[in-house]
């Protein structure tokens, strides 16, 4: 296929903003945490794994999901914190499977402990969910090469929407960049592979943007040569 002559829709660059909502559900020990996890909406699980990327949080957190962070800082159970921290949401088919894994790890730890550990008052785990507003930036991309210039200028909201959120939204569970490149057939196979290898979970949105920008830049520099 000649990529100069595209017959499919251009890549519409969107942006998003997120707002947090209290669910009113609070846990003070592991038993309460697993009980609430059993019934809390998947939106809340999503928020506690991925929402940190778009809300006030330090860019270099010790733990990449809120459950591990709370267990370490409020319950001071480093063993469980490490087990929770290593859970990578990308490994799971959907959020319900991720929920089951969390409950499994929590229950295993409760079996090991002789007595329940309580978080101090005022330091409970607060279950939060979020609402996301997706809006147009009024920019479109017609040719993959245009991304070389555009990606470094993308907002972190745009990176979140097209890279993180897309995996949950798209039926094939891959990001919007790869999905759009699929339209061009084999021509950008290597570029797609590179995008696919980016480990989004242990990164920040700024780092993700840099990684994507580098990949596109390198690919098209080579293609030119």
């Amino acid at each position: 296929m000649n990529s100069d002559d595209i017959s499919f829709a251009p890549f519409e660059i969107k942006d998003c903003a997120l707002i947090a909502i209290a669910t009113g559900q609070r846990a003070q020990n592991l038993r309460e945490l697993s009980t609430i996890l059993n019934s809390i909406s998947t939106d809340s699980i999503y928020y506690h794994f991925w929402g940190g990327l778009l809300r006030p949080r330090f860019d270099d957190p010790e733990f990449h999901n809120d459950f591990a962070g709370w267990v370490a800082h409020a319950l001071h159970d480093k063993v469980l914190a490490e087990r929770l921290a290593v859970i990578d949401p990308v490994d799971f088919e959907d959020l319900d499977a991720l929920r089951q894994e969390l409950i499994e790890v929590l229950e295993e730890r409760q079996d090991e402990l002789d007595y329940p550990i309580w978080a101090p008052s005022g330091n409970q785990f607060e279950f939060i969910r979020s609402q996301t507003v997706v809006f147009s930036t009024n920019h479109t991309v017609n040719q993959p090469m245009e991304f070389v210039e555009i990606i470094p200028q993308m907002s972190v909201g745009t990176i979140f929407f097209h890279f993180i959120d897309a995996k949950r939204r798209n039926p094939n569970s891959i990001d919007d960049f790869q999905n759009w490149l699929l339209n061009f057939g084999e021509e950008y196979e290597k570029l797609r592979q590179g995008i696919n290898e980016i480990d989004a979970y242990f990164s920040t949105l700024v780092n993700l943007r840099n990684e994507l920008a580098k990949l596109f830049e390198k690919f098209f520099r080579k293609a030119k040569a």
Partner: protein, 417 residues
């Protein structure tokens, strides 16, 4: 107001980066022409008025027809709302029936005065308890009403909260500053952290001469290390613990100076007592400077934060702790109490240290003063963390997002075309 502040967004772009402002413009575009009204109880003084002084013109500049109204009343109304404020922070306050009547009557009168503007509004933000009862007088309202609570209500005095909840329950949504403050209500409870205004006198860059002037004014030696805590003289802020930490650290850093900067306490018997305890604990140490500054000494506080090496906020109970945010904005690592909103700002070993005792604070003071590279690195990280998360532009973005959430009855995702 729009004309006066025609380039307000550009001024913020110089601080936050153009991408942040562009993001706001795109987000606000579909809201062009929307009518938004903010109602609070004062235009002068206090954190809410400070935020609204910038939030309102910023929203206007984004094309949203935004106005700001104020509820005013007789002295008994303010006595009542001061009681509400204290009770919501956990003090056991019995509010007499006569004050509650004055509160409801003042809201009823204000409702009539503001009826045209509030009935026409698409979105109404009611700030804090003072105007909360207005909603009772608009049973046929067309717009969405949201109650914004700026107070630490993690442990409210229940009888007073029960009274106020009768009004708050009628809103379409409410906003609290931290998840630990959020109360159970029959509508969506949003979480929006407070913010600082980088262009306010408290935070704006100062000329070197203005910064240096505080050395002379307060007899601070410029070349010797100095630590600072800015807060009113209140036991929850633990000023005695700060002096203990200073004394422990001074054994190892003999030239260390401490500045405690707080407001006057003449109308507050508890504050007066704490101030006396602080003076006693300082034992006439000439290197401990206990300052009583007027409430509008913003530039002085700003300069003090800039000349200090480390800022402390050793609170044992804290709301959000905007003094922490302000210090971090001036590239200062903060040694803070492990409580409230300090926890989400002070990231151990990155933007400062969380401590639980004077001993812990003293250890961290010594560590930072002996590791100047680390001190500078943490200060830079602290400023960047505030830039990304706690400036008024982020606050504005969340208000815009909330407006969409109110206008669209969607659960988790709102797609704008």
């Amino acid at each position: 107001m729009n004309e006066i502040n025609g380039n307000l967004l550009d001024k913020y772009a110089a601080v936050t980066g153009q991408d942040v402002i562009e993001h706001l413009r795109q987000l606000a575009q579909p809201l062009n022409g929307l009518r938004v009204v903010h109602v609070n109880s004062t235009r002068i003084g206090g954190g809410v008025a400070e935020i609204l002084h910038k939030m309102v013109p910023l929203m206007q500049e984004l094309g949203i027809q935004t106005s700001w109204e104020v509820i005013t009343g007789e002295q008994v109304f303010y006595q009542c709302t001061k009681g509400f404020h204290n009770a919501m922070q956990g003090n056991h306050v019995n509010i007499p029936e006569s004050q509650l009547r004055a509160y409801e009557e003042t809201n009823a009168k204000t409702a009539e005065t503001l009826r045209p503007v509030l009935e026409e509004a698409d979105v109404v933000f009611i700030h804090d308890p003072q105007p909360a009862a207005l909603i009772r007088h608009f049973p046929e309202r067309k717009g969405k009403w949201v109650w914004r609570c700026h107070i630490d209500v993690s442990k409210p005095f229940r009888p007073v909260w029960k009274y106020l909840r009768n009004f708050v329950s009628g809103y379409d949504a409410s906003i609290f500053s931290l998840s630990s403050f959020a109360q159970q209500l029959p509508h969506s409870v949003y979480l929006i952290a407070p913010s600082i205004d980088p262009l306010h006198d408290k935070n704006v860059d100062l000329e070197k001469s203005e910064i240096r002037e505080v050395y002379n004014r307060f007899n601070i030696r410029p070349r010797e290390p100095m630590i600072l805590q800015v807060s009113r003289y209140d036991r929850f802020k633990d000023p005695i613990g700060v002096i203990q930490a200073y004394k422990l650290a001074k054994k190892f850093v003999p030239t260390l100076q401490l500045v405690l900067a707080g407001g006057g306490a003449s109308d507050d018997p508890e504050g007066e007592a704490v101030l006396n305890e602080v003076r006693l604990a300082a034992e006439d140490d000439p290197d401990v400077h206990i300052l009583l500054l007027p409430s509008d000494a913003h530039r002085t506080i700003n300069a003090l934060q800039r000349v200090s090496d480390i800022v402390l906020q050793k609170s044992v109970r804290e709301g959000f702790g905007l003094t922490v945010t302000e210090a971090m904005w001036k590239n200062k690592p903060v040694i803070g109490g492990d409580t409230g909103g300090i926890r989400i700002q002070v990231i151990n070993h990155h933007t400062g240290f969380l401590v639980n005792t004077p001993e812990g604070a003293a250890l961290r003071i010594r560590y930072l003063l002996h590791n100047s590279d680390k001190l500078a690195e943490m200060g830079d990280k602290a400023k960047e963390f505030v830039r990304q998360n706690f400036l008024i532009t982020r606050h504005l973005r969340e208000y815009l997002t909330l407006i969409y959430a109110l206008l669209y009855n969607s659960t988790d995702r709102i797609l704008l075309d």
